[in-house]
């Protein structure tokens, strides 16, 4: 304990230097702005800003880049709430209730609770990293392919629970998502699958392209279709910040979300992605009136947003303690470290204590800065909704196109947003929801890879999933969840046959 405090105070000593404070602020500000631009995610931004950090010392450079990362997480929720475009896989869930809140004139409350929940989650996650980072590393290592497969199965069950309407339609969308994730080069054999010989499909469909299409562009098409609904968003602005009742309602969700997100964030292979989905599932399951979810429930924003931020932060654990990047953003951070001559590995903590503890301290400082940057901005973002829609939608479309082009510099990506936009619009018109599709897509790849890997390692024996205690446990939880999700609908099915 004494160690922890002396280490943390050492860290704060590093992070509170004028230069590092400035860099943290700059990173958070850039991150927020970037996160708000649909499409320009943290990956593209960090890649673009890498050369600028050459002149800085490594600690300062990493503090700035990390600031961009969490700043973008905050900003991504802003677009999810305001214009229904999830900037990243982790903010897909926020669109469900966050955007509904905005439509009801509670955009300010949604943004406020997202910022405050994220700050709380960030504070807790910082303490978790500082106190338990090293021992928790073991968790990342016991998760082999079999465990990971079981976790993904559980994730797919969450997707069923996410659905607002018909479970059958939700399952259809999940399967479509999984199917879309199999487009591209087969990992084991290198054969191309479902690419129709088109070279730009050989690496599969990009998440950002799919998300921007089925959420962003489809939403615009739908808004242009219904004149009345978009006027509602525009006129009713309402309160700018959450009040005491909102807090009371949201506080338990924030706590649960933080806990779930922090644990999933530690897992390798982008476990953080599951955090918001898991949190939403939990909130919906334990709510007294689950039917409020999907219609602007504040818990549906508070929980997932906290999980999202907690996970974003704890996913630094495998990077800082093992030197293993758990996702693409962390892989870039490794690149940034290597460019600065620090090759991240198990000894970063002992060899570069300034970097290790300085970064941890700066995480908390960064979160505080984000709160300070974001709360005053809430008013501005909400006022943005007053901009007439005929000016707003061309701007959104343009930013989407610029954003997506900046990631891979591929014109086909831009065309694909349009294609998925039309597909997404048709899906909405026929009553299918895009969120389970996206979750199926994100999890599909991991599901397939880990299933095949686990089976290769067990030489084809399926019992590997049951023999390993963690994987067996996760599968059992998945089955219970599925049963819970299906039971009411079976009962309802008996009562009101053919209503759907």
């Amino acid at each position: 304990m004494g160690d922890l405090i002396s280490n943390l105070s050492h860290g704060f000593g590093v992070a509170l230097s004028l230069q590092n404070l400035g860099l943290a602020f700059l990173g958070c500000l850039v991150g927020t702005l970037i996160g708000v631009l649909p499409g320009v995610g943290p990956i593209a931004t960090i890649a673009m800003l890498l050369p600028i950090t050459f002149g800085l010392d490594p600690v300062g450079a990493l503090i700035m880049l990390a600031g961009i990362y969490y700043g973008a997480q905050y900003g991504g929720s802003t677009t999810a709430i305001l214009v229904n475009i999830p900037g990243e896989a982790t903010s897909v869930v926020t669109t469900l209730d966050g955007h509904q809140m905005a439509r009801q004139g509670r955009a300010g409350v949604a943004l406020g609770i997202a910022a405050i929940g994220s700050f709380f989650a960030g504070t807790v996650a910082t303490i978790v990293i500082a106190a338990l980072g090293a021992p928790l590393t073991g968790l990342a290592l016991i998760f082999g392919p079999a465990e990971y497969f079981a976790l993904m199965v559980m994730g797919l069950v969450f997707a069923v629970v996410l659905a607002r309407g018909s479970i059958l339609k939700a399952v259809a969308m999940i399967l479509l998502g999984v199917l879309l994730s199999t487009v591209g080069t087969d990992l084991e054999t290198g054969q191309e699958r479902m690419t129709f010989g088109l070279p730009f499909l050989s690496d599969g469909i990009d998440f950002a392209v799919l998300a921007m299409g089925v959420f962003g562009v489809a939403e615009i098409l739908r808004n242009l279709d219904h004149t009345e609904t978009r006027d509602v968003v525009r006129q009713a602005i309402g309160r700018l910040l959450p009040n005491r009742d909102d807090f009371k309602q949201a506080a338990p969700s924030v706590l649960r979300g933080t806990f779930i997100g922090a644990i999933l964030g530690i897992l390798p292979g982008n476990g953080a992605v599951l955090g918001p989905f898991a949190s939403y599932t939990v909130e919906k399951k334990i709510a007294k009136d689950p039917s409020r979810f999907g219609r602007g429930a504040i818990e549906g924003v508070a929980g997932p947003e906290s999980a999202n931020n907690a996970g974003a932060q704890t996913s630094f654990i495998p990077l800082l303690t093992l030197g293993i990047p758990p996702n693409a953003v962390m892989a870039l951070m490794v690149g940034a470290m290597t460019i600065h001559g620090i090759v991240p590995g198990p000894q970063v903590m002992t060899r570069n204590p300034d970097l290790f503890w300085g970064m941890i301290a700066s995480m908390w400082i960064g979160n505080l800065m984000l709160l300070i940057i974001n709360l005053p901005l809430v008013g501005m973002w909400v006022r943005l909704l007053k901009v007439p829609y005929h000016l707003m939608f061309p701007a959104i479309l343009m930013f989407c196109c610029i954003g997506i082009y900046s990631i891979n510099s591929l014109p086909t990506d831009v065309m694909f947003i349009g294609f998925f936009g039309i597909v997404g619009y048709l899906l909405i018109r026929f009553g299918f929801e895009p969120a389970p599709l996206l979750l199926g897509f994100v999890l599909g790849k991991l599901l397939e890879e880990n299933l095949r890997r686990a089976l290769i390692l067990s030489r084809g024996s399926l019992s590997t999933f049951v023999d390993r205690p963690i994987s067996a446990g996760l599968l059992v939880i998945a089955m219970i969840l599925l049963a819970l999700a299906l039971l009411p609908s079976i009962r309802k099915g008996r009562d009101e046959v053919f209503t759907e």
Binding site: I46, L141, P268, L322, G335, V343, R452, I456
Partner: protein, 325 residues
């Protein structure tokens, strides 16, 4: 008629600007296409070398990451760019050595479709295993893999990755067939190697050195003629008694075919200057990189390297039967 005149005028205009461009090249920023994601070994080397080259050339070298299909997406695009010196690329062992064997529909020929500029840096390959693997040295390890055959699990970072190609090469040298387990990237593969889920892999020093130093995995040998200063205790494959497995993941700068020799020379001069710069050298060496010396730095030497690499990888990879349609 009017059209013909316009076309002629446009042609003349282009010719004039073309000539100007050659005289005082470069006049605007140069794009260096890196065919892999930002942050990987090739990207890091491109950025370190590119930074110093920018100073010499007086124009910024902007790195553009165009990842996909084992690097062939980016190289295909860059090879079709205007050969005016404003688009160059960082190719590597995979894109300019193994690609023809792995991708039968490849849109370029590494030996013919480029104007080689020069070799930048190579990263040595190491043979590493989980820390409780039951062999103490390379001889014992090779013996174990040979005896146990497909019971041994070899991890690699995906078809076409350096660890995949060198793993196949290693297996063919020791005449064994371990079971190959594919990962999407080095990170997840190393994670499972540290978690004792898989047995061994072959990969670049940048990726594995910190783990070896930290004792989370163990190294049997480094596949270079000399030991690396970063890991002085790891013997070379030759010292450890294995002949025929010497391989480095080399990275080199290429321009599109048809780029004028003057421009290539300017670029090569800037590259050589960067490789002689103390600070740049130190940064490359800290990563475990191997910097080419004197004769290996010329465009001609690079052309020769590409020819021999394509000839070396094609039979090895074709024999393993792994290809992408």
């Amino acid at each position: 008629m009017k059209k013909a005149v316009l076309a002629l005028a446009a042609g003349l205009g282009l010719a004039v600007t073309g000539a100007q461009a050659q005289g005082n090249y470069p006049q605007r920023p140069i794009t260096m296409v890196v065919p892999f994601a930002a942050g990987g070994p090739t990207d890091v080397i491109a950025r370190i070398v590119g930074e110093h080259m920018s100073h010499t050339l007086g124009q910024q070298i902007v790195v553009e990451n165009v990842a996909g299909a084992g690097g062939t997406t980016g190289i295909t695009r860059a090879s079709q760019a205007q050969p005016d010196g404003y688009t160059i690329m960082m190719g590597h062992m995979g894109t300019h050595g193994a690609a023809p064997a792995l991708y039968p529909n490849l849109k370029y020929d590494p030996t013919k479709d480029f104007a080689p500029v020069g070799l930048a840096a190579g990263t040595p390959i190491l043979i590493v295993a989980r820390k409780d693997f039951p062999a103490n040295d390379l001889k014992g390890f090779v013996e174990y893999v040979k005896t146990n055959g497909d019971k041994v699990n070899m991890a690699h970072a995906g078809v076409g990755s350096v660890s995949h190609m060198t793993g196949i090469f290693f297996s063919s040298v020791i005449k064994a067939k371990p079971t190959m387990v594919s990962y999407s990237g080095t990170g997840p593969a190393l994670n499972d190697l540290m978690g004792n889920t898989v047995d061994f892999m072959t990969d670049q020093i940048v990726n594995v050195a910190p783990q070896i130093q930290g004792g989370t995995i163990k190294a049997y040998a480094i596949a270079t003629p000399e030991r690396s200063p970063v890991l002085p205790n790891v013997p070379t494959t030759k010292e450890a008694g294995l002949d025929g497995f010497e391989v480095s993941a080399w990275n080199a700068i290429f321009a599109p075919k048809g780029t004028s020799p003057e421009i290539v020379k300017k670029l090569n001069d800037a590259l050589v200057k960067a490789l002689d710069d103390q600070n740049t050298r130190k940064r490359l060496l800290d990563l475990g990189g191997v910097i080419p010396s004197g004769g290996d730095r010329s465009p001609e030497a690079l052309q020769k390297l590409v020819d021999t690499e394509v000839a070396r990888w094609t039979p090895v990879l074709k024999a393993a039967g792994n290809k992408t349609q």
